[in-house]
Structures are given as structure tokens and as C-alpha cells.
């Protein structure tokens, strides 16, 4: 080759590759915390799940309305008693290391999830899996050791992802494995510098043609609300989540920025300790529910962005049914009348616990003021999360639980009514076994919850959960408050970033206009 030609072509090549590099689209995202790990099977926080969701995929997914949709599995059949499920798998999918996705891969992953000796954070969610059988390369049968109607929803849980079976085999040591995440998702893992960034890059062999639209994704944690918003405003990042509701005006006033607002399924409530004498009385619990203006609570705590509670489970959860009997509107007079009927004409004194997060304390102070209008005098005790965990969830005997009211919330991570009801309201779920911190017990509710789990037939499950919701609304083991929206701040030319109702961030369909 003549030297002139060689030099010219070299220069041309360099220019072209530089131009290509300049055109590479990088997406920078900042969130409120660092990830805790890269293995979804051994993760229990939404930040990690969100980042992992670009690398890994599940058999079933939730869409923006928290409705189930097929993903790596294209469909399923089950027997009547919900103990056997046969899944059909998508063809033509490969893992990022070239391993094909097939029934063997599903078997390896479900067995890992079900193995209770592994000590993985999410093992317990899958303890009903008894046996996984490969029927064909694209067909797998899962047998359960009990009826579990919510099984397919459980498979859509963010932890139920498919690892490349080759990688699972290559790194039998958990500590090594969790540094080499390989899934079927649109992005490949590059590196994680704790406290600084997680870097992902486009996977060219992704099965959905035309995706992803961005070449690189960088996640950086930024716990300070103000700093995170400043990073967005200055253009250092393209999207932030969550956008704190008290800082939305700074984003609204900037024409280059936009707010992505999506409904959530995080239900805020004020748990009522039914073991304490006055609160064992149904009328007192109902009085508390009458004494709170839910819309005003939303304004105070979440800039009005959200929905007031209308049932014991939030609206986005499957089998939700709106309740209106009793009609818990803001009615201090009704509350007073109920208190009087219960034998507390002069009101009563209650202890309200909350965490010391600014927003929680503000909300708790608001609730105190509201309850005061009905004659309920409340002492608010903010505590750091360590103390809270010990005093609330560490209690072995219900008699030791000192609080009367507790301001908190619950996210139904499976999107199914079972996970919204059983942990919070079933008798078997009393703290410390699970999260029934009201120590509430009602055999009829227990029966309805169990009934919903005993069948895979959506119609039958719907009937059971409707009954449970009706009873719970009337019984008021908590003060039902509401569900704030999920807020993402982003550049206005960026589309495809949003939040799922369960608090998981979506970015696999991100694109710049």
C-alpha cells in the first residue's frame, strides 16, 4: 500500500471512529443511594433492583400499571390447585456471554432461588418451589410444595431474574459470582466503583431488535436531595430519582427539564397497636380514621402528588377494590362521637412513633394536629431507623410493644394482593415473624387471605381479596393514609425513563430526542 494512501486512510479511520465516539449516547442517572450488590437473587433493595434490571431479565414482568406481562416466558398453564405450573419460554434469546436462554437456564436459576441453604436474601420468597423439570428446550414444569396462586406474580418479582447458567457454574463462590453479573438484558455490566458509579454498556445481541437506544449508562449515587437536583439542573446528569417533592418547583421552572410522574403502590399508613386497651376498641380505631384529612396529608407530605387511600391495599395492586363503607372522610365530629361512645368523652393520649427523616416528622406533626381536632392528644417520638427497627420489629412479645401509633408504609413488591395483605394483617404475621405491627387478628380476614392463596383462578382470588379488603376497611387496624406518586426529574429531551409503581426505576427504553 502506498504510504500516502495508508496515512490518509488511517486519518480517515481515526476521524470516523472519533466521530462515532462523539455520537455515542451516554445516559447519566443519579439516585438516592448506592446499590448494595449485583446479584438480584441476593438483593432486597429497590436501588439495586433498578440498576440490575438493565443487565438481567425475568420470566414475567410488570408493566407501568403493575399488570403482569410475559417476558422471557411467553405464557404458562397451571393446574386447578395451583401446585403445578408449566412455562413456555421465548426462543432466540441469548445471555450476554453467548449462552442460549432455555429451559436448562430456567431450571438452574429457579433451583438456586429455591435452595434454602444458600442464605440468599430472597430465598424465602421461593421456598414453595419443590421441583423443576425440563420438558423441552422451551418448556419447563415447576412443581410446588403447596398451593400458591400468586406464583406467577412471584416470578415477576425483581429478584427472580435469569442468570447465565454458564456463569453460575463458573463462579461457585458467591463472593466472586456477584462481581460478574451476566443476564439477557439490553446492557452489559462494565464496573462498579462503590460510592461513585455503576457503568453499563449496550449489549449488541439483545433480543428486542432496535433496543437499547443509548450506548452507555452510568448510575451515580447522590444521597443529598439538594445536590442531586443541582446535578440535574446543571446538566451533569440526565435523570434523577426520586425527585424530592419539596424541590419540584426548581425543576418545574426550568424549560430544559421535565418531571415524570407515575402512580406508586407504596401505601402509607399509621399502624394502630390493637393490643393497647383503648385501641382494641373498633370505635376508637374508626375515630382515628375519621380524624384525618387524607388529601391534606398528601399536600403536607408530598406536595399533593398522590392518591388518598381507598382500601387496605393501594389502587395499583391486583384485586384492589375501592371501599366506601365506612366513608372515612375528614369528620372530627364523627370521630368525637365515636370516642364518646367508646367511653372516652374527654379524648385520650396516644404515643406516635416515626423515623427521624424530615418528611416523616413533618407528616407525624401534621397527624398530631389532625387528631387533636378530635380530642386525641398525641406525643410524637421521632427515632433513628436503628432504634425504630429494634423497638418496632425486634419485639418478641406483643406485650412489650410500647407504641400506640406508628407512621410507616408498605410497598407490595409483587404487585399482588397477597403480599399487600398477608404480611401486614394476617395473624400468622405478627411481629417478629412478619410485619403485622398492629398485632391485628381476625379469623375471617385470615380465612379470606388464605383463600386467595389457595387457588390460581383469578376470579376466585378476586372474591377472596374483596372480602378481606371489606373487613379490613371496617376493622381499621391501621389509619389508611394514601399513596404518593413516584417522581423522576429528567431532561425534557429524554424519554423512556420512569418508575414502576413498586418504586423500581425503568431505563431500558431510554432515548434522547
Amino acid at each position: 500500500m502506498n504510504p500516502f494512501f495508508r496515512r490518509t486512510s488511517l486519518a480517515l479511520g481515526l476521524t470516523l471512529s472519533l466521530a462515532a465516539a462523539a455520537q455515542a449516547q451516554d445516559l447519566h442517572i443519579s439516585m438516592y443511594a448506592d446499590i448494595t450488590g449485583l446479584d438480584p437473587h441476593d438483593t432486597s433493595d429497590n436501588v439495586s433492583y433498578s440498576v440490575q434490571s438493565g443487565i438481567f431479565e425475568r420470566l414475567f414482568q410488570f408493566d407501568a400499571q403493575m399488570k403482569l406481562q410475559p417476558w422471557l416466558a411467553t405464557g404458562y398453564t397451571s393446574n386447578d390447585s395451583a401446585t403445578e405450573f408449566t412455562l413456555t419460554l421465548r426462543k432466540g434469546v441469548t445471555f450476554q456471554d453467548g449462552t442460549p436462554f432455555d429451559a436448562e437456564a430456567v431450571k438452574a436459576n429457579l433451583e438456586r432461588l429455591a435452595d434454602q441453604t444458600k442464605g440468599l436474601k430472597r430465598n424465602s420468597l421461593y421456598k414453595m418451589i419443590a421441583k423443576v423439570t425440563v420438558l423441552a428446550p422451551d418448556q419447563v414444569k415447576v412443581e410446588l410444595n403447596q398451593s400458591f396462586g400468586a406464583f406467577i406474580n412471584t416470578l415477576a418479582h425483581p429478584s427472580a431474574v435469569m442468570w447465565s447458567p454458564a456463569i453460575l457454574k463458573q463462579y461457585p463462590d458467591e463472593a466472586q459470582l456477584r462481581l460478574h453479573p451476566v443476564g439477557t438484558g439490553p446492557f452489559k455490566f462494565v464496573d462498579w466503583q462503590p460510592g461513585k458509579a455503576v457503568n453499563l454498556t449496550k449489549y449488541d445481541g439483545y433480543w428486542q431488535k432496535g433496543w437499547p437506544k443509548v450506548d452507555n449508562v452510568t448510575f451515580s449515587p447522590s444521597p443529598e436531595d439538594a445536590t442531586r437536583v443541582a446535578a440535574l439542573k446543571s446538566g451533569q446528569v440526565d435523570a434523577i430519582w426520586p425527585l424530592p417533592s419539596d424541590l419540584i418547583s426548581t425543576v418545574q421552572n426550568d424549560s430544559k427539564l421535565a418531571i415524570q410522574r407515575d402512580p406508586s403502590i407504596y401505601l402509607y399508613y399509621m399502624a394502630i397497636n390493637t393490643q393497647h386497651k383503648p385501641l382494641a376498641d373498633l370505635r376508637v380505631r374508626q375515630a382515628i380514621n375519621y380524624a384525618i384529612d387524607r388529601n391534606l396529608w398528601l399536600k403536607v407530605a408530598f406536595a399533593g402528588m398522590g392518591k388518598p387511600a381507598s382500601s387496605a391495599i393501594p389502587e395499583g395492586v391486583q384485586f384492589w377494590q375501592k371501599q366506601s363503607d365506612p366513608n372515612y372522610r375528614y369528620a372530627p365530629d364523627e370521630a368525637k362521637a365515636l370516642l364518646k361512645a367508646a367511653g372516652y368523652p374527654n379524648g385520650l393520649d396516644l404515643k406516635l412513633w416515626t423515623t427521624n427523616a424530615t418528611a416523616s416528622v413533618r407528616a407525624a406533626q401534621f397527624l398530631k394536629a389532625q387528631l387533636a381536632t378530635a380530642g386525641i392528644r398525641v406525643t410524637v417520638t421521632p427515632m433513628d431507623s436503628g432504634t425504630r427497627n429494634a423497638k418496632l420489629w425486634g419485639v418478641k412479645d406483643p406485650k412489650q410493644a410500647e407504641f400506640d401509633l406508628y407512621y410507616g408504609g408498605w410497598s407490595t413488591s409483587t404487585g399482588d394482593a397477597d403480599w399487600a395483605l398477608r404480611p401486614l394483617y394476617a395473624t400468622e404475621s405478627w411481629v417478629p415473624t412478619s410485619y403485622n405491627v398492629s398485632y391485628y387478628s381476625n379469623p375471617a380476614v385470615d380465612k379470606a387471605i388464605a383463600g386467595g392463596l389457595a387457588t390460581a383462578d383469578p376470579a376466585k382470588r378476586g372474591v377472596a381479596y374483596a372480602e378481606a379488603q371489606k373487613l379490613l376497611w371496617k376493622d381499621a387496624p391501621v389509619a389508611f393514609l394514601g399513596t404518593p406518586d413516584n417522581l423522576v426529574g429528567k431532561r425534557s429531551n429524554l424519554s423512556g425513563v420512569s418508575m414502576l409503581p413498586d418504586g423500581n426505576f425503568l431505563y431500558t427504553q431510554a432515548a434522547f430526542k
Binding site: 443519579s30 443511594a33 448506592d34 446499590i35 448494595t36 450488590g37 438483593t43 432486597s44 433493595d45 442464605g119 436474601k121 430472597r122 430465598n123 424465602s124 463472593a175 456477584r178 466503583q193 462503590p194 460510592g195 461513585k196 458509579a197 451515580s220 449515587p221 447522590s222 444521597p223 443529598e224 439538594a226 445536590t227 442531586r228 443541582a230 446535578a231 439542573k233 446543571s234 446538566g235 451533569q236 446528569v237 433513628d384 431507623s385 436503628g386 432504634t387 427497627n389 429494634a390 423497638k391 420489629w393 425486634g394 417478629p432 415473624t433 412478619s434
Partner: protein, 309 residues
């Protein structure tokens, strides 16, 4: 000199032991269940119990302490509860960013502080003195996080020269370093000024002047040298404070260093990390004090390192 250093190093051992006992004790007093954090917030009771067993939390406290101490000597600090990475790895990653930040903050604040302090002393009672000292008082009084937020809002955001958050390019160190060093600069200026003025009144300075030495020579040879001794002590202390101050500054600027790590670990109640970091900060403080003592001797040989009788 060598023997002195060895003796000082040996003296560190009992101090560190006492500190380790205190740190361990205080961490154990903290509310919260480490096993719950390790197993994850939604873990069933059985998993929490398994974690407790695995982490040795059922062992008697003295045994837990000795186990931890043994690990400390072997350089095995355990794994973090939150991410299950080796604590040593996590701390290693944060160490240099914090050191760079502390050194940068220290460098500019000391140079500026000394310069302004001497200048104020030389112009004692004049308007320059008043102005400088008022600025210094302002600098000491201003909360660092507030200065940091101001710099983010009015310097980083409009100009785009600096990242608002994190450590992405070399220039990103400038704003956190300014924030971190501001109060040190102010303290140094005030302290240098008073040390300088104090020495200037000493008899030997007067004598030197009376002997007819030139003013400049007296200032630099006699006053400066002697005034530096208390200033150096102060420097050491200030560097220790800088490491402490980095906790706030790193949080505001999202600087991936040890201060940031400490805050995040406290929030997550990640006990092995908190324990290790507090020990490290104490150790650094002690080492800095030693270095300061050694520096005395270098600056002023008149101070002898006294041997024990």
C-alpha cells in the same frame, strides 16, 4: 531521635487498645439488629437467626471483641453488612479521595492563612488588619455545609467547569477543597497573627532590634521562627479537624471518600465499617500528632527531644 520515634510508636499501642475497646463498646450500645441488616429488611426470622450465628453475634461480648481485635491485627476487618464486600477493600477505595481532598484543602488554607496572618500582624491596627480579621471571623463562623451549598449553587451550576456532584474530573476537587479549607484558613490567619505579635514583644526581639539588626532580619530570623512553633501545633490539630470536616463536605459534594462512607455506613448501621473507620480516624490523629512533635525539632533545634531519665 530514632529511639524517641520508637518510644512514641510503642506508646500508641495502649492508646489504640483503649480506643478500640471504647469504639467496640459504643457500637454495641447502638440500637438496631446487625443480623437484620445483614440478612436484609424483608428476611424471615430464620434467615436473621442464621445471619446472627454466621456473624458470631451470639458469642459473649469479650469473645466478639477479641475476635474483632485479632482481625484488626491481621488486617481482616470482616465484610460490610450492606454489600458483603471486604471492609478493607471498601476503605481502601475511599482512602485516597479523602487524602487528596484533605491535602488540597490543607495546602491552600495553610498558605493563605499564614500569609494573611503575617500580613495582618505586620499591619497591626491598620485597616488591612481589621479587614483581614473580620473576614477570618466570618470564615470561622460559616458552617461548611452552607458554604458548600453556596458554591454548588453559584459557582458549579452556572459555569459547568466543575461537577456538581462526585469526582469526575481533576478540577472537581477545587470546590470541596475550598469548602473544607475555609475555616482552617481563617483559624490559621488569626492564630498566626497572634503568635507573631506575641513573639514580637519578647525581650530577645527587642534586644535584637536594640543591637541594630535590620527590621526585616529580625522579623524573619527571630520572630518568624519562634512564632512558627505554636503554629505547627495548630497545623497538626487542624489537619485532624480537616479529616473530621471531610465528613460533612464529602456528603454535600458527594465525594466518594471515607467521610461519605462513614455517613452512609451510619445510615445503614453497617457496624464493621463504622468500627473500622473510627479506628482509622483515631489512628490518623495520633500519627499526625507524632509528626507534629517531630516537626518541632526540625523547625527549632532548641527544642530537644528529651530522653527519659
Amino acid at each position: 531521635m530514632f529511639a524517641y520515634i520508637i518510644r512514641r510508636l510503642l506508646e500508641m499501642i495502649p492508646v489504640l487498645l483503649v480506643v478500640s475497646l471504647l469504639v467496640f463498646g459504643f457500637i454495641k450500645l447502638l440500637p438496631g439488629d446487625p443480623a437484620r441488616i445483614y440478612a436484609g429488611p424483608d428476611a424471615p426470622l430464620a434467615a436473621v437467626e442464621a445471619a446472627r450465628q454466621h456473624l458470631g453475634l451470639n458469642d459473649p461480648l469479650p469473645q466478639q471483641y477479641l475476635h474483632w481485635l485479632g482481625g484488626l491485627f491481621r488486617g481482616d476487618l470482616g465484610v460490610t453488612y450492606r454489600t458483603q464486600q471486604p471492609v478493607l477493600e471498601v476503605i481502601k477505595k475511599g482512602f485516597m479521595p479523602t487524602m487528596w481532598l484533605a491535602l488540597a484543602g490543607f495546602a491552600w488554607s495553610v498558605i493563605l492563612g499564614l500569609f494573611l496572618g503575617v500580613l495582618a500582624a505586620l499591619k497591626r491596627g491598620k485597616w488591612q488588619d481589621w479587614t483581614l480579621m473580620s473576614v477570618a471571623v466570618g470564615g470561622i463562623s460559616m458552617p461548611t455545609f452552607w458554604l458548600g451549598l453556596l458554591l454548588i449553587q453559584f459557582v458549579a451550576m452556572p459555569f459547568g467547569l466543575f461537577s456538581v456532584s462526585g469526582f469526575n474530573k481533576p478540577t472537581d476537587i477545587i470546590l470541596p477543597a475550598i469548602t473544607l479549607g475555609s475555616s482552617v484558613a481563617a483559624v490559621m490567619a488569626r492564630f498566626t497573627r497572634s503568635a507573631f505579635l506575641e513573639v514580637a514583644q519578647e525581650d530577645y526581639v527587642r534586644t535584637a532590634k536594640a543591637k541594630g539588626l535590620r527590621n526585616r532580619l529580625v522579623t524573619w530570623k527571630h520572630v518568624m521562627r519562634n512564632a512558627l512553633i505554636p503554629v505547627i501545633t495548630m497545623l497538626g490539630l487542624q489537619f485532624g479537624f480537616l479529616l473530621g470536616g471531610s465528613i460533612v463536605v464529602e456528603s454535600v459534594f458527594n465525594w466518594p471518600g471515607l467521610g461519605w462512607l462513614l455517613i452512609e455506613s451510619i445510615k445503614a448501621q453497617d457496624q464493621p465499617v463504622i468500627q473500622a473507620l473510627v479506628m482509622l480516624f483515631v489512628f490518623e490523629f495520633i500519627v499526625i500528632n507524632l509528626l507534629v512533635d517531630l516537626l518541632y525539632a526540625v523547625v527549632n533545634p532548641a527544642i530537644r527531644l528529651r530522653q527519659e531519665p
